[in-house]
């Protein structure tokens, strides 16, 4: 009985948040397959936590924290190899799901092009704020930073993008 209830909650959580977590991943790592892998691992980690009977006060924030930690691990692994090099080896970035219309794909590629110019920490802050819609307070909790640091990073990220564009 207990098992079914926890599984049901987990299933609902997956259905509700899988797209959002995937979207966060793809705008952080710029690679569709990698983003899918991280999404999968994030939910596996969530299951590990839930299946041990641990309570989660804010599911959304918890999932973003797991995901962010996985992405940071990913960056560390790839530190020796630049992401550009990786993309050159794999060919062009097929980040966008091919079935969608051209306009949506262009918009996606424009957004990615902006984000790829940013250092990791700025990218993390601006994706969480303006793509995931998390508040500065939530981002601070998820990333273990102060709200001030988060606000400054978001602001600097935007300033950097503005200056690069001009």
């Amino acid at each position: 009985m207990k098992i079914n209830v926890v599984e049901q909650e987990f299933t609902k959580t997956y259905d509700q948040f899988a797209d959002a977590i995937f979207r966060h991943c793809i705008f952080r790592v710029s690679d569709r397959e990698k983003a899918k892998d991280i999404t999968q691992v994030a939910f596996v980690r969530l299951w590990d936590y839930m299946s041990q009977g641990k309570e989660i006060d804010n599911m959304r924030a918890f999932l973003y924290r797991i995901t962010n930690n996985l992405i940071i691990d990913e960056y560390r692994k790839k530190k020796e190899v630049s992401l550009d090099l990786m993309r050159d080896e794999e060919g062009f970035d097929i980040g966008f799901e091919p079935r969608h219309d051209i306009e949506s794909r262009d918009e996606y590629e424009r957004a990615q092009a902006l984000l790829e110019q940013l250092p990791d920490k700025y990218r993390e802050a601006i994706v969480m704020r303006h793509i995931d819609g998390l508040s500065v307070k939530e981002i601070a909790r998820i990333t273990h930073e102060t709200e001030n640091v988060v606000s400054v990073r978001i602001h600097r990220a935007i300033e950097k993008l503005k200056s690069l564009r001009s």
Binding site: I3, W47, S51, Q52, G53, E55, N58, E97, R99, R110
Partner: protein, 322 residues
């Protein structure tokens, strides 16, 4: 700046997993779930997650939390936490879990913050129902009317804080409320846009003779009910932002006048304390020194020691980091 943010949001709007990809990942995750089932032993006692932020400065609140924990112990309360209207355990969530947590909220500020969190829980239920399959309209209606009821209650809570002397608390809570409503407005707008797209896709499939019109209609009706909720949330968010600005305007002005008066009072209190302490030191020094100077003199057995045990420290207001 706005142009860049708009570009990011537009780029993100249609970025999601395809139905196949979502199903494939789900299948892989559940293959793991089946190999690592729930550990029943660990469900006998609730374990607090690091995401619960508690204030342990007050011993009384610790004991209240322990009692609440005992009352909430067990898998039923835990399982009820993520339920929505229509689920069997939803009454447990509202009438047991939430009642217990209301009891824990002893200060007016804690009550108001809990009321904000209650509104957020009602919003999360609306959002969960929006993504769930085979949802009955009455369940969605219940979720919607719950949201309206709790929103009204929360507005009254903040008004109480404002009427009382808790101006700073009212500002903080109004700010938290506005922030929370902003986040959920964005989530609801996302869900609404998605429903519209799926509706359009369903219409196209209907015209091609692939699916029945009812599928397209269902998504349109979902989008329409979400649209109504979004209007309410948007209005509440604007009201909360207005209230927050208004409170800041009123109390920051009064604050600067009051602050001068309060600072003067504090300085006077500290001055008096310094005098008392100085007198204590003199008395103690005299006690120590006088036997050395004239050893035959008896020690003064006055009650000076009692004064040193006086713990009338000036009050320092503890500040909530949230």
């Amino acid at each position: 700046m706005e142009h860049i943010i708009k570009q990011l949001k537009r780029g993100a709007k249609n970025t999601r997993l395809s139905a196949t990809e979502k199903a494939d990942i789900k299948s892989a995750v559940f293959s793991y779930v089946n190999k690592h089932p729930v550990n029943n032993e660990l469900f006998t006692r609730p374990i607090r997650s690091p995401f619960q932020i508690q204030n342990f400065r007050n011993k009384k609140s610790v004991s209240v939390l322990v009692i609440a924990g005992l009352l909430m112990g067990g898998s039923v309360s835990f399982a009820a936490e993520n339920t929505v209207p229509g689920d069997a355990l939803f009454p447990v969530k509202v009438y047991v879990n939430e009642n217990v947590r209301s009891v824990i909220a002893v200060t007016p500020k804690a009550k108001a913050e809990w009321d904000v969190r209650l509104v957020e829980r009602r919003l999360e239920e609306v959002e969960k129902l929006a993504v769930a399959k085979d949802v009955k309209p009455e369940e969605q209606n219940i979720a919607q009317s719950n949201l309206e009821r709790y929103s009204e209650r929360m507005v009254r809570s903040i008004a109480k804080l404002d009427d009382g002397e808790d101006s700073e608390d009212a500002i903080v809570v109004a700010g938290n409320l506005a922030g929370m409503l902003r986040e959920h407005e964005e989530i609801l707008l996302d869900l609404h846009d998605r429903d519209i797209e799926i509706h359009k896709a369903s219409v196209a499939e209907t015209l091609a003779g692939v699916t029945a019109t009812t599928t397209a209609d269902l998504f349109m009706s979902d989008a329409q009910s979400l649209g109504i909720i979004i209007k309410h949330v948007s209005k509440d968010r604007k009201d909360a932002e207005e209230k927050h600005k208004e409170l800041e305007r009123i109390y920051k002005q009064d604050d600067s006048k009051d602050k001068r008066g309060r600072s003067k009072e504090k300085i006077e209190k500290l001055d008096n304390k310094i005098v008392d302490v100085a007198q204590d030191i003199v008395a103690t020094t005299t006690q120590i020194v006088s036997p050395m100077v004239s050893p035959r003199k008896q020690k003064d057995s006055s009650s000076d020691d009692g004064d040193r045990n006086d713990s009338s420290e000036p009050e320092i207001k503890s500040q909530d980091s949230d």
